[in-house]
């Protein structure tokens, strides 16, 4: 890129300054860029479309081609498209002054150029008589004015576009031409690059770009010449491809809507925004067709019907006003129409076969009771060092019972030890059923359905059904307390067990989804406001691991590691989901983190009080106090007695009096859970604290006086950082 051009330097010299531009406002042109690929997995497309835009913008910026440019990108199963408007046709020329060797080296005593001057001029591509002398602080040097000629967008894009394709990232790439060949998500089969109506010259993976695109597999032509984006969009539409995902989604929504309308009153779509997005990216020319299935399949639970329709066939389900499924489905096909209804018949047959399978499992699984599957879990390994699922169930029972008992003793009347025990016992049984083997995503749900159908208590059945929840942070938590107990027991057992076996999540490796389990624990506790001591719960899980197979001892260090792991997730949830600031979370955690519900309460109070005028200045003072104490090697936590007789200044006395007075009130408020009142009380100390620092020199000459003042500050910090440690507030946001 640094190659200096040797031609017509003088002409280019017209420019001025060290790196002055010398071009007139250039012509603007449009780029059409398309990567033609064999079917890209639909789930990856939305991200790829976004990334294509960012990467393209980045490369354009690197070549100063981005100014005033609009980049839009689109994607479908067989293509990624970029439309760039307002590209500068040619880069501006740039003049640079390049400094060479010192003048004393470049010219001999007679003033004739030496070899050094000659080779410098040659290297820079300028004539000897064009060399300049520049003055620098180090002395006089020779220099050359070098003009970097602006290159055309045409040239640059031919270099940029292959790199853009290369830079797109995918979860897993492949090669189709051999180990030395290009890598991409699926084989690249054609490329379109047209700039200002002219095809660009570049290639990738052995494919040469041109101005020929490809239509829909069955509805379009295989070779379509295009001039620009408008031409491209229009011609592709005529060839069965809707380029813009938004338009495809709109078409699907509109057609779904019209089927719903025709279905009659009260009928509605079983809402599924993820499915809508998926089918948008699965089809180049989406079209909605309607089919029906035998009404007797409606005897199967909705969960199973929907999983079959949605997960496997990607059909939309329909329901009546009561939310019950009806025997109609809507499928999105990649064709303009289904005139003979053949596609519809095909889909209907497939669905019937799938439902028949599901019914077969539903009936054959229930030839015995859910609990009868328990012994079979002995053969299902959870983790080689942690034994079978049967072992895990025994541990879960112990932990769930312990939790329920704790809650019951705290006066939570819904806590039911026997139910928690039974639900934990049944929770994993469905792993041995045919239905879950076929539809793994229905684990838990199937167990819950069988439990209900077989007359288990509703509380127990619901708990079994829900105990994998929450899977993500936006998921609901188990609907009843028993479900929460089983879910917590399952998750804490996984974490403690795996940590004790050395299976600790690192980077992207988290095979047992322990991070998700930890987030689930945090979410259940916070959402349901459960009184759960984290360390005691970890202790209960450790005890279960010791008293039940594999009878493994968990070391205190491992327990501490688990606690830190959970707290780390808790901080994350409080920041990302509850919207607390980094320093607020740190401040509150420093004042204690055993009870997450209490943590959240303190955070809420802190956030409210923080906005009041006294608070931030007080926080600054607290920070100062902590620094002073640290410097004096006197942590706030070490007890020191304040001696009132040693006070010299009024401000000291005033502060002490204020502290004593506020302390009583604060601890009273705190006990009553009135954190905001307590914090207001503390904020009220601002004036006396400020006054103290104005009047009092803490590090007094007299050792006794100094120690007494430090003791006063230590007490202040000790008394008033039990809700949140304000000295953590403010400063840089750290990540």
């Amino acid at each position: 890129m640094r190659a200096a051009t040797k031609t017509s330097l003088k002409k280019a010299r017209a420019g001025a300054g060290k790196a002055g531009a010398s071009s007139k406002p250039g012509k603007r042109v449009e780029l059409l860029f398309e990567i033609g690929v064999e079917e890209i997995p639909a789930g990856m497309l939305p991200r790829a479309v976004g990334e294509l835009k960012t990467i393209l913008e980045k490369h354009l910026a690197a070549e100063s081609l981005n100014e005033g440019v609009a980049v839009e990108t689109f994607g479908g199963p067989r293509r990624l498209t970029a439309w760039v408007r307002g590209l500068i046709a040619k880069q501006a020329d740039v003049e640079n002054e390049v400094t060479g060797p010192p003048k004393s080296v470049a010219y001999d005593n007679a003033g004739a150029p030496t070899r050094a001057a000659v080779s410098f001029a040659e290297k820079q591509g300028v004539a000897l008589h064009d060399l300049l002398i520049v003055k620098t602080p180090k002395g006089e040097y020779i220099a050359a004015k070098v003009v970097k000629r602006g290159r055309t967008a045409h040239e640059l894009l031919s270099e940029i576009l292959p790199r853009v394709i290369h830079d797109l990232s995918w979860p897993r790439t492949m090669t189709w031409t051999g180990l030395e060949g290009a890598r991409f998500i699926r084989p690249v089969r054609w490329l379109v690059g047209v700039l200002g109506g002219k095809p660009l010259k570049f290639s990738f993976g052995g494919i040469t770009a041109g101005d020929i695109t490809v239509g829909h597999r069955f509805l379009g032509k295989a070779e379509i010449r295009v001039r620009d984006f408008a031409d491209y969009e229009k011609k592709l539409l005529a060839n069965g491809v809707i380029v813009r995902p938004a338009k495809r989604m709109e078409k699907i929504s509109r057609e779904l809507e019209s089927h719903i309308k025709r279905a009659g009153s009260g009928i509605r779509l079983h809402k599924d925004p993820d499915l809508l997005q998926l089918v948008t990216y699965l089809n180049e020319y989406p079209h909605v067709i309607e089919g029906t299935f035998d009404g007797e399949f409606l005897n199967l639970p909705d969960e199973i019907l929907i999983t079959v329709m949605r997960g496997h066939q990607k059909y939309f389900a329909m329901e009546n006003s009561a939310g019950e499924l009806v025997n109609t489905f809507l499928a999105v096909i990649n064709l303009a129409k289904d005139p003979q209804g053949l596609v519809c018949i095909g889909h209907r047959n497939v669905l019937r076969a799938r439902f028949t399978d599901a019914r077969f499992f539903w009936e054959s699984d229930q030839k015995c009771k859910l609990a009868d599957y328990l012994p079979k879990l002995q053969r299902v390994t959870y983790e080689s060092r942690l034994g079978s699922y049967h072992d895990k169930v025994e541990r879960m029972r112990a932990i769930a019972r312990w939790l329920a008992e704790q809650w019951f003793n705290l006066g939570m009347v819904q806590a039911h030890v026997a139910d928690a025990d039974r639900a934990a016992e049944l929770a994993k049984c469905d792993l041995a059923t045919e239905m879950v083997r076929e539809f793994t995503e229905l684990q838990g749900v199937v167990g819950g359905l069988y439990a209900r159908a077989q007359g288990e208590a509703e509380d127990v059945a619901d708990a079994v059904y829900d105990h994998y929840l929450p899977v993500g942070l936006d998921d609901p938590i188990p609907r009843n307390l028993t479900g929460c107990a089983v879910a917590l027991a399952d998750k804490i057992d996984s974490i403690v067990g795996c940590f004790s076996a050395g299976v600790i999540p690192t980077g992207s490796s988290d095979p047992y989804a322990l991070r998700r389990a930890a987030l689930g624990i945090v979410k259940i506790i916070l959402d349901r406001k459960l009184p759960v001591s984290l360390s005691l719960t970890i202790g209960a899980a450790a005890k279960a691991l010791l008293t039940h197979p594999p009878k493994k001892a968990v070391t205190p260090a491992q327990e501490a590691q688990v606690l830190e792991f959970l707290l780390d997730r808790a901080r994350f949830v409080l920041r990302e989901k509850h919207g607390y600031a980094y320093d607020e979370v740190n401040a509150v955690f420093r004042a204690g983190s055993e009870d997450l519900v209490d943590v959240e309460k303190r955070l809420r109070a802190l956030k409210a009080v923080r906005k009041t005028k006294n608070f931030e200045p007080l926080a600054v003072s607290f920070k100062r106090i902590r620094k002073i104490l640290e410097k004096a090697n006197l942590p706030a936590e070490t007890a020191q007695h304040v001696n009132v007789d040693l006070f010299e200044k009024d401000a000291e006395k005033a502060l002490y009096a204020a502290v004593r007075k506020a302390a009583g009130k604060v601890s009273e408020d705190k006990r009553a859970g009135k954190y905001q009142e307590a914090l207001d009380e503390i904020a009220g100390l601002r004036k006396v604290v400020d006054q103290f620092f104005v009047e009092v020199m803490v590090m007094a000459e007299d050792e006794a006086v100094r120690k007494n003042r430090l003791a006063l500050l230590a007490e202040l910090l000790r008394e008033f950082t039990t809700i949140a440690d304000f000295s953590e507030l403010g400063g840089e946001e750290r990540k």
Binding site: M174, L179, V343, G346, N349, A353, V380
Partner: protein
């Protein structure tokens, strides 16, 4: 009226055997060697040496064959209309994968009577992996009106070896396609010929082999057989390692060395593993361990086979 009656008698779609023939005819014209099924129990067409070994190394190859595939755990005593202990795959390997392979495949669907404009044919992400073979690839399942009819894969690795060139594997599920073409609800109703049904020919096999693998096989004997075959395969592979000579100096001993037999024993292990699995005598942990043992044999065979075939190509000396 008589005309109408005649029309009703005429059945819809190709017979099962005509389906084989049409596909063979089609792929034969694309330059494929039309092979016969491998004569041992395999779980999939991929396991036949014509795929597993041929995709290794640099030599171009095109082959197509029907492969009866046994999956004991999928048996349903002949009572489920869609699930079988044994089914038939039509297996096609093109090495290297031609650029127009998707179109070629779609033409094969037309050749068996599928009107691509009247049906919804699509390629949906489905990467394939065979852990017991140390093999994986990138590709799709092909859906015909929502029905999975083909697995379409660009092999990336086989026997733990990175492939170069890349082969494409096309595996048609013949029963499903035929049931679709004939518009019947159960595989057993498929007309194999004009007067014999799939059920006439295969039902007894499904009933008996399901009964055997779920209820009557002798787990201890299966285990012992597994050990025996594994031992023989391993010993053969050890023998190759200690054989005189090295790459570039092939001897007749090296060229005759029975690595293909080592692979046959590996295939036996794989089938015995499937039988034990169906019998329900393998725990999840043991399962992983047994699979790793089969994989070790497959991977070792693959690398030995590569050495041997390179030598064979360079010609025998001395």
């Amino acid at each position: 009226m008589t005309v109408k009656a005649k029309l009703e008698v005429k059945h819809k779609g190709l017979t099962f055997q005509d389906l084989f023939l049409k596909l063979a005819h089609f792929w034969g014209k694309q330059g494929c060697v039309l092979q016969q099924p491998y004569d041992m129990e395999v779980g999939a067409g991929t396991m036949a040496p014509e795929t597993f070994l041929r995709v290794l190394g640099p030599s171009p190859y095109r082959v197509a064959y029907v492969q009866p595939s046994r999956r004991p755990a999928d048996g349903r005593y002949g009572e489920n209309p869609n699930r079988l202990y044994k089914h038939f795959q039509y297996q096609v390997i093109l090495k290297p994968a031609p650029a127009e392979i998707q179109d070629m495949y779609l033409k094969s669907l037309e050749a068996i009577g599928i009107d691509l404009r009247a049906h919804d044919v699509r390629f949906e992400e489905d990467n394939w992996e065979a852990p017991t073979l140390g093999a994986w690839g990138i590709g799709w399942q092909v859906l015909l009106d929502g029905l999975e009819i083909t697995q379409f894969t660009y092999f990336q690795q086989s026997g733990g070896i990175e492939l170069d060139p890349i082969s494409v594997e096309i595996t048609y599920g013949l029963e499903r396609i035929c049931a679709f073409l004939q518009d019947v609800e159960s595989v057993y109703e498929i007309r194999w010929t004009e007067d014999k049904s799939y059920g006439d020919i295969r039902l007894a096999e499904e009933q008996q082999l399901s009964e055997y693998s779920f209820d009557r096989s002798d787990a201890q004997a299966l285990r012992a057989e597994f050990e025996l075959h594994e031992k023989e395969s391993r010993e053969l592979l050890e023998g190759w390692k200690h054989l005189e000579g090295n790459v570039g100096a092939p001897t007749i001993e090296r060229i005759r060395y029975p690595l293909l037999a080592a692979y046959d024993h590996c295939l036996k292990c794989s089938h015995l593993f499937n039988l034990m699995d169906a019998r329900g005598v393998i725990s999840t942990t043991e399962r992983a361990a047994l699979m790793a043992r089969v994989r070790t044999l497959a991977c070792r065979t693959a690398s030995a086979y590569l050495e041997q075939s390179a030598e064979a190509k360079s010609g025998v000396r001395g």
